[in-house]
Symmetry: C2
């Protein structure tokens, strides 16, 4: 009998596809068999079947995903039944609109996991809720938690949790560093790359429920019938995972593809065109999510081309959406040439429009006032537009944070913004509470992350970049989760379960963003990177297409000191914040050192609260920052026995690149700013062995065509 | 005992890495276990060890590749020994500079495989020869040939067999349709993507021995020390596979990165700069292959900027190479604005330079006179420059041949050019004999294929595009191989061994290029594709940056007829060919119909030798061509049981796209040319159900940003 079973098994094995080493494609959904024997026994005992009834498409996905996960984790197939088996223990999945979920009672995405008799029950207020519950349950197993008497409830704090893809029709990805676009437009709709499904799975597993699939610098072609057919096909892949598709729109589409003479939002023909187009979209994609718009920004057309304002434009699209269940996300990333301080411009354009947007419009605001710098103060629009729901836009792709060669875990950066207190309604008026709608009682709430995903086999280029995709999703669901806790669960699911290695990696990840800031833009420096490519240092950049695309515009180094005076004696951008914030940040002795040069022009010899002068503190941060990469290398080396060898070597090689480039940054910035400070490199640091000309030559060559 | 063995096997299985479906990554080097039991037994008996001695790096690679292949094919590990085992049968690898190889006696790349006693011996005239022999032996096993009394000798007919990558520093690939560049410049030299090695393996397996890694529209940055360090790292990966690295150079590099005021090839400082740069390269990469140059072409700088000619430029680089073992491949793809016929320009510029190039220079000539059209007559420079070795440049990437969605097997097209008879030294003066140097007794010979490779998991986007990479390498080695024979061995190694399916697929492949020509550019039409993107039909294109970038420049449709009169009464481009060719092609009644409209403006009602008028023949070809895609779909459907399901579905979906786009082409061209011919669509064909305006709208949207 045993022999017969073995022979059968061998027959299966012989027919099995070939085997390969782990290459990162599976992300955090690896489902390798549980190694701990007692845990494995517990899980096997508890999960002898999956029961789910009803034809809800997302519930069906949930059951299949649970079966798939269990098959891997338990090393055995788990059957799906229509109803619980009375003699066995198993897992029941059920949609229950009144399920008792924690958090926002309004969310249909919440779930409840509980023991019921000998079974575990995963209830959701919708199919999506069950799916999120299933992934939460699998996470318990992946991280080795007990499932005895399991009781978990959760509900997302933010309603619209989107990835924004800056993917172009030709397959390039603006600010993408992981290969080309995963969307194969020339293959759609006839061919559906299997990767689309794996992408949807990964997103659903972290609670992402929307995807804007094309670049905000949008092509009109997505709105043609030809392309809508392709978008429809993608939407069909996303739908069973509870994910809705959104489109970035090109404002001039009514002219370019509609044959109209204008794109004026107050023109009846234009309004009619958008209405008909929107109806056409919903006929093809009944759960279409809505529109994302970059208008009158960086050369994109918009309503201002016709003397209208952003609200005119957004409201026209909202009207076109009509009774369809869709929204407009209108980006506030605007800045005209010629202003005295780019910092203020989005505020000045959008603040007066508060209260003028129709209920289906959310204004999408980047975390900071400039552009995804390694550290920015929170955007002054947060708290300043109480009558308008604001979507927080963060960047997961590391445009200014080392692309795909620097290990920078972004959860601390996301949380720094979410946790920032705007004080606009007194203490506790955090950006998170603005965004989740609780501060101003908004029905709609949203958060968007610019994706770091491409065709690279491991999705994100840098293997550790996967953690940023993961962390974005987890924080979009629940921004109260600690960065380290997210890092820990990701590490356990993705890299290793060895406790000491996990602790080491989590520490390394959690400190990595501060390290990056120290060797690139310490003390509130910003926008001193290589022009256009945003790679490497270029603090000497003084000529560009616009003054606010140079570096000198921002750091304002001179013989006296360094930094942008944004107090009342300067650009007065500080006045955009609430009084409490102004009070703290307006005084250089109370302003957090991390934001100091964002708001103050500080003398080179000015003592800071660290006891060092500005110059000495600046140099100290550049040097210790670069040296911290060596520390990261050492920490990473120490976990070698616990991590897949190929993956370990990959990250180790990237850390070596990071160390080298950290030294570029250090030397470039220290030597350049020294031409103003005329101060020596303080002990114990050794002056760079190369000249400023050397470093300029080195980093400038990356600007060559 | 059986039970114990089974248990042991199960233990191995349990520890094995995860299993995945075949995803095309392994190309034709799959090495799945031999299914035929008697063949397997024969192979196992013959290959009980691999013996190789000596430390030659490429020989070491050969032994390792043989072990790897055998392990897969035989399902068991085969040990490597330093010397043959007296009691067992095995495979001996040995370098023997006097090995008896067929073909060119000068080639160090030749190999000889023979039975010696109970063993098989693979001898090469170099390590690379052994490596090629090993892959030839593995091919025998992969295609199920007997190895009893095996006796194979082979030697390449062409010395330099290169892939040209049009890859840019930012990761994009000019005319690439399979993801982004496989070269990760920001990771080099610290990180070596494992894919580099797999790329080298694949190339070596088909005899490719050189790689120009960057776009001919070159960046100067590759010549900086920073980048040479990266190139050196890549060369280190290629070297053990017998592959040399070449660089495309930016002519103005001495100015852009050298700080000189000129790039005049006759300026002593410029000459000195290139000499020093070349020496620097060879210090880093002792086996560096040489330079590939696109100069004074499509806006690229070149020696003509200083009143010099191409020979001045090429010879200066040859002088810089000095005694280093490297060559200059100088491209003849030049055409200035304003000429009456672009067809003639490369000839007119290069023919007068014949005899003026130094011995290290080869002139690289595209297969046809325009630019990689689906069918071109052979380039008139072939045969016209007897004193200069000419490299044949073909395009493997399908810029004008349906990108990654049309199944077009290119070997017939490559061979059409290679087999073409220039008649410059009498009958039999084929392009192949020009290229291999035999016609004019050249020591150097070369062939280059523009790669179709990217980061897509399966390398080439379209799974069948792998066959074009494969066929290029096989033909570069031996252009006498029949297209169908190459298709057969590729199919057997890659798709299926089922004989009927193999025959069906081979037939489909071998006819595919003629099918593509019929539905896009029959009868010698050319250059009527979508502007810039080269996607879809755009025969109506009449306005572009230059007249010779339009379509009307080439098809010259008018009320009288269609085609470019290149006879003596027209541009007289025909005069560039030898008398015999002129005689045949100059007379519309003897000119092959495939080239008719390349050389003649033919009246719409002119009867052709098919019995149909030009118009009716044109329409017939468009319709039957598009319908042949349906035939391809049916043939592909018939092999479904014999092919991996995911791969079958992938190709089937792409064929559906191809059919749809074939109908675009058909309708666009038939309806557009009908506005000139004023003739009805002949029976039995039904007129298109859409209007010309419909098709224009459809294909034009792909021109939107």
């Amino acid at each position: 009998m045993l022999l017969r079973s073995l022979l059968l098994l061998l027959a299966v094995v012989a027919a099995a596809p070939r085997c390969v080493a782990d290459d990162g494609y599976r992300l955090w959904l690896k489902y390798d068999r549980v190694a701990d024997a007692s845990r494995l026994a517990q899980y096997r005992a508890a999960a002898q079947f999956v029961a789910a009834s009803g034809g809800d498409a997302v519930l069906t996905t949930a059951a299949a995903e649970l079966q798939r996960g269990l098959q891997g984790l338990l090393g055995q197939a788990v059957p799906r039944l229509a109803a619980p088996a009375s003699t066995k223990r198993g897992i029941l999945l059920a949609i229950d609109p009144s399920a008792n979920v924690s958090g926002s009672s309004a969310s249909r995405d919440g779930y409840q996991i509980s023991a019921q008799g000998k079974n575990l029950v995963v209830k959701g207020r919708s199919g999506a809720g069950v799916l999120y519950g299933v992934f939460a349950l699998l996470r318990q197993l992946q991280t080795g938690q007990s499932v005895a008497n399991l009781s978990l409830t959760s509900s997302p704090r933010i309603q619209y949790r989107l990835l924004n893809h800056w993917d172009n029709p030709n397959g390039t990805v603006e600010r993408g560093y992981a290969g080309s676009s995963i969307w194969k437009w020339n293959e759609l709709p006839q061919r559906l790359d299997p990767r689309y499904t794996d992408y949807a799975r990964a997103n659903a597993s972290i609670g992402i429920n929307g995807v804007a699939i094309n670049n905000v610098n949008a092509s009109a072609r997505y709105l043609t019938a030809e392309y809508l057919d392709k978008v429809k096909a993608l939407a069909g892949v996303m739908r069973p995972y509870g994910i809705r598709v959104y489109l970035s729109v090109f404002w001039a589409a009514p002219k370019v593809i509609g044959g109209l003479k204008t794109a004026d939002p107050l023109d009846p023909q234009v309004q009619q065109w958008w209405k008909a187009k929107t109806d056409e979209i919903y006929r093809a994609i009944p759960d279409f999510g809505g529109f994302l718009v970059k208008a009158n920004s960086e050369g994109e057309p918009g309503p201002q081309d016709y003397g209208r304002n952003h609200a005119d434009g957004a409201n026209m699209l909202a009207t076109a959406l009509g009774t369809h269940d869709g929204i407009v996300m209108w980006r506030a990333f605007v800045y005209k040439a010629g202003s005295d301080d780019r910092f203020k411009q989005a505020y000045e354009e959008f603040k007066p429009l508060d209260g003028k947007f129709s209920p289906k419009v959310l204004v999408q605001v980047k975390n900071g006032p400039i552009d995804f710098q390694a550290r920015e103060p929170f955007h002054p629009l947060f708290g300043a537009m109480p009558q308008t729901p604001l979507v927080l836009e963060v960047q997961i792709t590391q445009e200014y944070l080392g692309m795909a060669t620097h290990l920078v875990y972004l959860a601390p950066m996301f949380k720094e913004c979410l946790d920032a207190d705007t004080q606009t309604k007194g203490p506790g008026s955090t950006v998170a509470r603005v965004v989740d709608g609780s501060l101003d009682q908004h029905r709609l709430s949203g958060i968007a992350g610019v994706a770091n995903i491409g065709t690279d086999r491991n999705w994100t280029g840098h293997p550790m970049g996967q953690a940023n995709w993961y962390a974005f999703g987890r924080l979009a669901w629940d921004y109260t989760l600690p960065s380290a806790a997210i890092a820990k669960e990701w590490t356990q699911m993705t890299l290793t379960r060895e406790p000491k290695a996990v602790a080491t990696i989590v520490e390394l990840m959690d400190r990595s963003r501060d390290v990056y800031v120290r060797y690139t833009t310490p003390l509130g420096l910003h926008h001193i990177m290589g022009q256009n490519i945003h790679y490497g240092p270029e603090p000497w950049l003084a000529q560009a297409g616009r003054p606010d695309w140079t570096a000198v515009y921002y750091h304002k180094a001179d013989s006296l000191g360094l930094g942008f005076n944004r107090t009342a004696t300067g650009s007065n951008a500080l006045a955009l914040y609430s009084a409490g914030v102004q009070q703290q940040w307006g005084n250089p002795t109370t302003c957090p050192l991390n934001y100091l040069l964002w708001f103050h022009h500080v003398g080179w010899k000015q003592p800071l609260r660290t006891g060092r002068t500005l110059w000495n503190e600046l140099v100290t941060r550049y040097y210790t920052g670069a040296d911290s990469v060596t520390w990261m290398q050492q920490r990473w080396a120490s976990v070698q026995p616990a991590v897949d060898p190929a993956l370990h070597a990959d990250v180790a090689a990237r850390l070596a690149i990071q160390r080298r480039e950290a030294l570029w940054w250090r030397d470039a910035c220290v030597l350049y700013f020294q031409t103003f400070s005329k101060q020596p490199i303080p002990a114990p640091f050794a002056p760079p062995t190369r000249t400023l000309a050397d470093v300029k030559t080195l980093v400038n060559l990356y600007q060559l065509k």
